[in-house]
């Protein structure tokens, strides 16, 4: 069976998919389990670890004080970086970030900016002088497909767990005083959650694909939903989809987003009790 798989991977998959089954035992429309842990990195201001099946992603948030840009004196910075190191999959070579990592970084940044995950003005301490910069580093530990889903979930989880010290800025003396005892948490305005789909062929759309399925399919697409609002349907290339198929996928993504919200709420709530 292993030889068959390596010689004719596509045929091998097709044989399974005819029976509405995948080699890992899931049906075509079944999601993998998601697990989440919040605030596990104590040296970061906020962090979250998310597992979607075998895919594992860590998001750490580091806050730094700095001057704002002159064009936007009241806006802080939210800088998101997605790293797919060579550790996580054989697809990636060591060296500068791969195209996939750069594309994912641009995508996550775009969505975060357009949805307005947090109000950038709320990161301001003193206009034109001092603002918070949040460096959100998302690192993939194990790449087994649907990394966008894990990235968004971990980003939201980490942002919810951020606690910043209270900082005061004296305008006359230009002295910064940091009060480590009073902690401020961020006000997360919306929680965009991505759901990945792989287009295997015109009729078959695989929900929550693993790495093999991603590589064999003709294209991927990603639906981002935040609080019952559709943020984005990102579908570059792949087979042609009918509107009905997209609608079905949207309703699936919607159901899953509700589940992920419950998960985020449960984990952050549990963390607060500790």
């Amino acid at each position: 069976m292993d030889h068959y798989k390596s010689v004719h991977p596509l045929k091998y998959y097709q044989d399974y998919l005819i029976h509405d089954l995948r080699p890992d035992g899931r049906s075509i429309s079944k999601f993998r389990n998601i697990a989440m842990n919040v605030d596990s990195i104590t040296t970061a201001n906020g962090s979250a670890v998310v597992r979607v099946g075998n895919t594992c992603v860590v998001c750490g948030i580091k806050a730094e004080l700095g001057p704002p840009r002159t064009e936007e004196p009241e806006n802080g910075f939210l800088l998101i970086n997605v790293d797919l190191p060579s550790l996580c999959s054989s697809q990636f070579r060591p060296g500068p970030p791969s195209d996939k990592a750069q594309v994912l970084t641009a995508f996550v940044n775009n969505i975060a900016l357009q949805c307005g995950i947090i109000e950038l003005k709320s990161l301001c301490i003193q206009a034109d002088k001092l603002v918070w910069t949040l460096y959100c580093d998302i690192i993939c530990i194990n790449y087994d497909g649907a990394v966008a889903d894990a990235c968004f979930t971990s980003l939201i989880g980490a942002l919810l767990s951020v606690s910043l010290p209270k900082v005061e800025y004296n305008n006359e003396t230009n002295v910064i005083s940091v009060n480590e005892e009073t902690k401020i948490s961020l006000n997360v305005l919306c929680k965009p959650i991505a759901t990945s789909f792989a287009i295997f062929n015109e009729k078959t759309i695989l929900v929550d694909p693993c790495e093999e399925e991603e590589l064999l399919s003709s294209g991927m697409f990603c639906i981002v939903i935040s609080d019952n609002e559709l943020c984005s349907i990102h579908k570059p290339g792949g087979n042609v989809l009918e509107e009905e198929q997209i609608k079905k996928c949207i309703s699936k993504a919607k159901e899953r987003t509700v589940l992920i919200y419950e998960l985020i709420q449960a984990t952050t709530f549990k963390q607060k009790l500790l």
């Binding site: 775009n110 290339g237 042609v240 919607k254």
Partner: protein, 248 residues
Amino acid sequence: MEIEENENTEEIVNTDVLKCELNTLSRADGSSILCQNNTVMAAAVYGPVEVKQHKMLIDKAYIEIVFRPKCGLSQIGDRLLESIIGKICENAILSTFYPRTAIYIIVQEMQNSGAALACSINAACLALIHAGIGMNFLFAAVTSKIYFKQSNFIILNNNIYLEFKEFTRKQIKEYEKTFNNNYYFDLFKKNRYCLFIGTQFNINNFNELVKIQVLNSNYESCFIIFSRYNIHKKKRVPNVNINYNLFN
């Protein structure tokens, strides 16, 4: 069958400047400059040419897209554009016709005042046509912007809102939530691939929204783009046979 440009098409063109030129570069196998409103993109196609050993694919052509910004080095935002254009081209080009070769598509940003993605996609398609590379289908993209106020929404193609008659610019500014989307089409099958990039809008609106408004307006705009392809086809690219009666 070719569609004649009727009065109706002319009307739409008046609000939206669309100019293109093929054969702009002498060394490239195919080249084009496309101007949509104030956004100008130049595209060049080199191929099928020799491929580097480690990039060679034995059953199909290796396709590489390079997006060059106006100045400076390309950044991660440009990588996103590259990947989108690249994935569309991979599907559109009959790459199995050119095994063990490479096709390079270079898109150079000349001037950007919005809708860069749509303009680059269209410029790339024009350059591919000019290069005479075998294609499964042609593609075109349109960017439009949707403004919402409660359940009422208006959809305007990029940049047109300045001239939009019923709404003044100030009124439009009141519509806080905007939704950008880029569509690209597969014209031969009249099917559509779509890509939306944008901020939130209510899921309940999605059905009526997509069906009634966006598609109609975008089909029209795509139609204009392709009627332009047609004009150029007559002049310079006699080998590519394009069927235009799909909108009837």
